[in-house]
């Protein structure tokens, strides 16, 4: 299936939901507590860049806007977005999204646009960061309740916590299983399941990923890998790799994908389309819509749901839009050296400040470990695809 087909397929669940009258709130930045929307009776859906949407933005955005926001705007201008009850923009993440939210409000005044502003501080050593985000969430919740006359229902919230928690547990298991044995399930399959969930986090999409995780668990048990997988999961969540055990006969090359709001399915498709190469070379990604979403902890069941959700959001692995470059580089180096990684593909979208600023630091950190790197410019449209494939192929050849 071509890339457009792959993406199309993951939206099927959402289309069905819309047709059945379900109300959807779209969001753009991945670190959103889905439980909040579900508690108000909405289905949150991650609105992402789509291949094949290359124009439509020109009336409102200059060409030096990042390819991601150009794509989102074009989708809306071309009428490609499914009907949404509301759309949530992040505040204080990157300059592009900050401004896109403002522009959207002017150009599409009938859209219900909400904004959730994030703290950039991650290492404040006090509670100000969590308190700030908790209050933002409480205000958002009140706004949703008042706008739609749909209160925050504790029962729905509790159910949502379990649903999302099931997703996280399964996604983390699958990610960890692939670190131990990347052939146990194709990368493309894992990221497809994740995308399907993020597009429509329903009981059915969670069942899909849960069933798959259960099947992989059985295979892992047969292969005697379950304990190793658990050591990897624990290491990734705690940052302490001392307990990690990996099989001795690991197949090579072992590659990690770094980057931000780059589509994991695009990378899987690109690699699988290269002759004689499969995505089993990819051991792990560090992408916003993959790894960073999967390895976020669920909210605790506390008396203050907003605080619990804020704490949960802030457990996500750091993004380049946050403070803490040195922490991120250390975390990445720990991961690369302890998971026997040989190569790192650094993906970046054009005019994306966070990606492009971080890339040289990533390259330096990797080279200090002797891990080879390649920079891959990757736009949602996969423009220049042939050249990118050649570059990836050449890179993988150097790792053999």
């Amino acid at each position: 299936m071509n890339y457009e087909g792959v993406i199309e397929q993951s939206s099927v669940g959402l289309k069905e939901l819309v047709e059945s009258g379900e109300e959807i709130i779209g969001y753009i930045y991945p670190h959103v507590p889905l439980e909040l929307f579900m508690a108000h009776g909405f289905t949150p859906s991650l609105v992402r860049a789509l291949p094949g949407t290359s124009s439509g933005f020109e009336e409102s955005l200059q060409t030096f806007a990042c390819s991601y926001i150009r794509n989102l705007y074009s989708q809306r201008a071309n009428g490609q977005l499914l009907p949404l009850a509301g759309l949530l923009f992040p505040g204080n993440t990157c300059d592009a999204l900050q401004n896109l939210g403002d522009i959207w409000r002017v150009r599409f005044p009938d859209d219900r646009v909400f904004r959730l502003t994030y703290p950039v501080t991650r290492y404040s050593q006090d509670e100000s960061t969590t308190k700030f985000l908790a209050e933002e969430l409480r205000i958002l919740s009140e706004t949703i309740a008042n706008t739609f006359n749909r209160p925050f229902l504790t029962e729905s919230y509790d159910r949502a916590i379990e649903l999302v928690q099931d997703f996280h547990a399964s996604a983390q298991f699958l990610y960890s299983a692939r670190v131990v044995n990347p052939k146990i399930i194709p990368y493309s399959e894992v990221v497809r399941l994740i995308r399907t969930f993020l597009t429509a986090p329903t009981i059915s999409s969670v069942s899909n990923i849960k069933d798959t995780a259960a099947r992989v668990r059985v295979t892992s048990e047969d292969l005697g890998l379950v304990d190793m997988i658990e050591t990897v999961r624990l290491a990734i969540t705690s940052g302490d790799y001392s307990g990690v055990k990996l099989p001795e006969d690991l197949e090579t090359p072992r590659v990690v994908i770094a980057g931000g709001m780059v589509e994991p399915q695009a990378i899987a498709t690109l690699i699988n389309d290269i002759p004689d190469i499969s995505d089993s070379a990819i051991v792990l990604d560090l992408l916003s819509f993959g790894f960073k979403t999967a390895f976020t902890e669920a909210p605790s069941k506390s008396s203050d749901p907003y605080l619990a959700m804020a704490q949960s959001v802030l457990t996500a692995p750091g993004e380049p839009t946050h403070e803490g470059l040195s922490y991120r580089m250390k975390a990445m180096k720990d991961l690369l050296s302890n998971l026997s990684i040989q190569g790192l593909m650094v993906c970046e979208q054009s005019f994306c400040d966070p990606d492009q600023f971080e890339a040289p630091s990533i390259e330096r950190a990797a080279s200090e470990l002797g891990v080879k790197t390649v920079r891959v410019p990757l736009d949602p449209e996969l423009s220049d695809r042939g050249r990118i494939e050649t570059r990836i192929q050449t890179f993988l050849d150097t790792l053999e």
Partner: protein, 408 residues
């Protein structure tokens, strides 16, 4: 007046006070070098509450200003190239690129490379880029970064936002204190804030004098004379400089002497100037076009002392959160409309700066709204403030000509 004698043939008049600028810049450079040698130099972003590091006896320098100097010397592409060689994309902010480039090869950039920092103080009330830029400098120099996070506000600053920024300011004081083993004396902070406020008020007076017709200052005059209010706010000599500037500008206004000789059209300039091509304004001056106001120099008009907040820290929180750059598209549009009204302007030129996404993305929309609200036409020209490789002079001229034709 002597300024007329010195430049009788030119379409614009040179400011006497400009000579003082060089002295201030020289002095500032020496002080920064000394601070760096003594292990107490901070690099600071332009929207940072600089009163705090100054009150804690740190030397401060502004890399954005150094970027402007590099731009004005027309060495932007070369210096940026040093950063690009390290892997920094040409699509990134050129202030950041030349800062990284000149840190990598300081000897190649005698005017514009800054002395080694011991601390990096970033405020994201101007953009999100600064944190990543300072992180990169931190990797190169080993100086620690402190980010004062001021989440953007819409219309008004809500209590939780205020509280969060307040915590940030308190952490900043602790951070400087623990890195340099010193404490902040409230009296000293008041004194610095008072000086800063006096300089800012004088600056505002100079800006407002441009409501006069003819306008006593043009764009380039303001871009050059804003340097001290950005880089030396909170010092005596900064206040002295603006006293001289105000005296000269108000005298010009009183005598009906304009910044250009034959003022015919009054325009608003939006965004950072093309530092490599400041003669853009002089060329237009010869056609009778003056820019009595611009959004860039009016950004530095935040005033600390005199607001009715209970403490000086609260004043810092309020002043630096409410920089209009931190308040979204509506605030920018309001600012433009207000300037067009107050300064009686005939049109506007928006410089779409490829480097600066935060400020430039949104201009296509705000151009329409500003025209709708004020009835005056505008034009958008595209380029960069430092990187002259993406500045197409011919195309810009055509666009500006089209605007002028409408106004002539």
């Amino acid at each position: 007046m002597t300024q007329e004698r010195a430049s009788e043939e030119k379409p614009y008049r040179r400011l006497e006070t400009q000579a003082l600028l060089q002295q201030i810049a020289f002095r500032h450079g020496l002080e920064a070098m000394e601070a760096s040698e003594n292990g107490s130099l901070a690099w600071v972003t332009s929207g940072f509450p600089v009163e705090i590091p100054i009150a804690m006896n740190l030397g401060v320098v502004y890399p954005e200003q150094a970027g402007a100097i590099i731009g004005a010397q027309k060495i932007g592409p070369a210096v940026s190239g040093y950063a690009e060689d390290l892997g920094y994309s040409q699509e990134l902010c050129s202030y950041a690129r030349v800062s990284i480039g000149s840190t990598e090869k300081p000897d190649e950039v005698p005017m514009g490379s800054l002395p080694t920092p011991q601390i990096l103080l970033a405020g994201n009330n101007i953009c999100g880029t600064v944190l990543k830029w300072y992180d990169a400098i931190s990797e190169m120099t080993g100086a620690p970064v402190f980010l004062l996070d001021t989440p953007p506000i819409e219309k008004q600053q809500l209590p939780h936002n205020q509280e969060y920024v307040r915590h940030g300011v308190e952490r900043l004081i602790e951070f400087i204190g623990s890195n340099f083993n010193r404490t902040l004396e409230e009296d000293r902070l008041r004194e610095v804030a008072e000086l800063s406020s006096r300089a800012t008020k004088l600056w505002i007076r100079a800006l407002e004098a441009c409501k006069n017709k003819p306008s006593p200052l043009n764009c380039a005059d303001r871009f050059l004379t804003m340097a001290p209010v950005v880089s030396s706010r909170g010092t005596e000599h900064c206040v002295e400089f603006y006293e001289s500037l105000v005296a000269e500008v108000e005298e010009r206004a009183k005598q009906g002497i304009g910044a250009i000789r034959d003022e015919k059209i009054r325009l608003l300039w939006d965004n950072i100037p093309p530092w490599h091509t400041l003669r853009f304004f002089n060329i237009l001056a010869s056609r009778g076009v003056v820019f009595p106001a611009d959004t860039y120099t009016h950004a530095w008009t935040g005033n600390m002392v005199g607001t009715d907040t209970p403490s000086i820290i609260d004043e810092v929180v309020e002043t630096y959160s409410k920089v209009y750059l931190n308040m979204g598209l509506d605030a920018k549009v309001d600012k433009m409309c207000q300037l067009i009204d107050d300064y009686d302007l005939d049109g506007f030129v928006m410089f779409s700066v490829r480097s600066c996404k935060r400020y430039s993305l949104g201009q296509l929309v705000s151009k329409e709204i500003v025209t709708e609200r004020t009835g005056v036409p505008g034009v958008i020209i595209e380029g960069d403030m430092v990187d002259s490789r993406v500045y197409n002079a011919a195309q810009i001229e055509t666009r500006v000509d089209a605007l002028l034709e409408m106004l002539m």
